[in-house]
């Protein structure tokens, strides 16, 4: 595989997400409440994708919605949930308890080593922990090795090359150069380790602008880029918008309640387009989220 050529990478959301095949290993960018690639997640649901193997560190509504929609075969994240705020991820939890998804819970450190091995073009890298933890039992693909230099026992984790990485950035240019704000999470590692990188951007900007902001992920790693305002919603994409706690609560409640209420959520928000999604969320709500920086009180109010 070679690096991506310098051409116009702009495409539609539908065409970009069509690059994710059934059964693909999909790396989800962002994490928890920040820069989740939600426009692409919704499009995967619209396109009825099946059998996906998801990889990532700590995630929430992105994984849960894909599981709820029946798109997932295997989950390999270090955490899936809504933290102390909204608790366990309802669809993920139910699927794990029913046995309808393969649970391959991982560890941030192991995953990082696996991605780095792929980036470095070597078959494995060692990690210092895992032995003694039952996480080891979820990963028969790991191996126990003896260090040839120190004689210590370590766990070798195999290189991981996701088929597709789905990343959301606040801005980027037509060549796929992306500017990210912290938390970068694993996006930079995914961009180098994955075979195909698709990015949505809140705003398409000129090359001069993205250079001035700072190119975090270069266009030679990116295959397709899609302008998608509020493309991370209900996750945050600072400095543009904070996360939408009320919407997350609405989703969790629907997913917890059962297939009928979940179906209503998907019909209201997902099955149309990104334009109809934003209309359903409401301009007033989106304005409140973009207004987080008006004052500390305004910011704090979003989390009350």
């Amino acid at each position: 595989m070679s690096l991506q050529p310098p051409r116009d990478k702009r495409t539609s959301l539908a065409d970009a997400v069509a690059l994710v095949g059934d059964g693909a290993i999909v790396a989800l960018g962002g994490g928890l409440s920040a820069r989740l690639p939600m426009a692409m997640v919704r499009e995967l649901v619209r396109q009825g994708r099946r059998g996906l193997h998801l990889v990532g560190s700590a995630h929430s509504i992105d994984v849960d919605m894909l599981v709820a929609a029946g798109a997932v075969r295997r989950c390999e994240e270090s955490y899936v949930g809504f933290e102390q705020d909204l608790g366990l991820a309802p669809a993920y939890r139910r699927a794990a308890e029913e046995g309808s998804i393969e649970v391959a819970e991982s560890c941030c450190v192991s995953l990082l080593a696996q991605l780095r091995a792929a980036e470095m073009g070597v078959p494995f890298l060692p990690v210092r922990g895992v032995r003694g933890s039952d996480i080891a039992g979820l990963h028969p693909e790991y191996a126990t090795i003896t260090c040839p230099f120190t004689g210590e026992t370590l766990i070798a984790v195999p290189a991981l090359r996701p088929d597709v990485a789905l990343l959301h950035a606040p801005s980027g240019d037509r060549y796929g150069n992306l500017h990210l704000e912290q938390p970068y999470v694993l996006d930079e590692r995914f961009a180098s380790a994955s075979r195909t990188v698709i990015a949505t951007v809140d705003e398409l900007v000129s090359t001069e602008e993205v250079m001035a902001s700072g190119i975090t992920i270069p266009g030679h790693l990116v295959a397709a880029t899609v302008p998608a305002p509020f493309g991370a919603h209900p996750a945050s994409c600072y400095p543009r918008y904070a996360y939408d706690r009320g919407h997350l609560r609405e989703y969790v409640s629907a997913a917890q309640s059962g297939p009928d209420d979940l179906g209503k959520y998907l019909t209201t928000y997902v099955y149309g387009s990104e334009e109809s999604y934003q209309a359903a969320v409401g301009a007033e709500r989106l304005a409140a989220l973009t207004g987080w920086s008006r004052s500390t009180a305004a910011w704090q109010e979003l989390f009350a």
Binding site: S57, Y79, E83, C108, L112, V130, S133, S236
Partner: protein
């Protein structure tokens, strides 16, 4: 001046931090999060506070939000580490302490944040351990905590699934496994405080409205109590002020049941010196 159990609990967690330590907390850990900022504002101004999944170094957040990677958490930080910068530092031994909890915690300090029941068909699939199964091997010291001790289901004889590694697992002790970090040092619960003398949890402090009998009844392993078992030292005015100013949203309270939150304490019950700034 009075205070509630959630405030006292956070102070007890903060007190496990030693001055100048490099300290981290993971996902979904509001009590630990607030405790770290309280420590930095009171006895440990020179600690290196790594703020959650923003990996911000020594920030000054205006409030603690209900999620561990919101940008509010990095306000005031000159630098935020990348994900890999933090985990590299932790694995090579440069992080002195982190806080870990669990749906189950056993006498050796192994914790379960993966699954209650068999993992192939769990009764409850929990959120997951984040970096725990590697971090627990290499971080200097661990402070464990739970606010669900009284349920009787949390401190258990043996975890259904060991996510994060304590002092002894079925595969061997930390020394036998060659782990470089010291493992669990403290376990703070809403009933009292344990240390890990000899690699096994040992009760060293009790909250004053809790009896040893209650602790035994809520604990799934035999409770060894220290010979000098004492009451948890009441919070000082400075510590309480720090809790309240760090956490105006009260995210710490999300970890407690309403019954626990009703536990209120007053200095009059503790005699001379209690509730004031003290060096004890």
């Amino acid at each position: 001046m009075s205070w509630t159990i959630d405030e006292w609990f956070v102070v007890a967690l903060a007190r496990t931090i030693r001055p100048r330590e490099t300290v981290f907390h993971g996902f979904g850990s509001p009590c630990a999060q607030v405790a770290m900022h309280v420590a930095r504002r009171t006895y440990a101004p020179e600690m290196v506070l790594i703020e959650g999944a923003m990996y911000a170094i020594n920030p000054d957040p205006p409030f603690i939000p209900p999620t561990s990677n919101d940008a509010s958490l990095s306000r005031g930080a000159a630098y935020s580490m990348r994900f890999e910068e933090f985990f590299d530092a932790a694995i090579r031994g440069d992080v002195d302490r982190m806080f870990l909890s669990g749906g189950q915690i056993d006498v050796s300090g192994n914790t379960n944040v993966t699954a209650i029941g068999p993992v192939s068909r769990p009764k409850v699939k929990l959120g997951g351990g984040g970096g725990g199964c590697n971090l627990s091997a290499t971080i200097g010291h661990l402070t464990l905590w739970t606010t669900r001790h009284r349920s009787g289901h949390t401190l258990v004889e043996a975890c259904d699934f060991i996510t994060d590694i304590g002092h002894r697992t079925p595969l061997g002790t930390r020394a036998e496994l060659g782990f470089t970090g010291g493992g669990p040092q403290w376990l703070v619960t809403e009933l009292g405080v344990f240390d890990f003398a000899g690699g096994r949890a040992r009760l060293v402090e009790l909250f004053p409205d809790v009896s040893l009998a209650e602790v035994r009844a809520a604990t799934g392993f035999p409770v060894q109590a220290a010979g000098d078992l004492r009451a948890v030292r009441p919070p000082s005015a400075a510590e309480l002020a720090a809790v309240r100013s760090v956490d105006p949203l009260g995210v710490r309270t999300s970890e407690f049941s309403p019954r626990e939150l009703a536990r209120t304490f007053e200095p009059a019950a503790f005699g001379r010196g209690a509730g004031q700034d003290c060096a004890c």
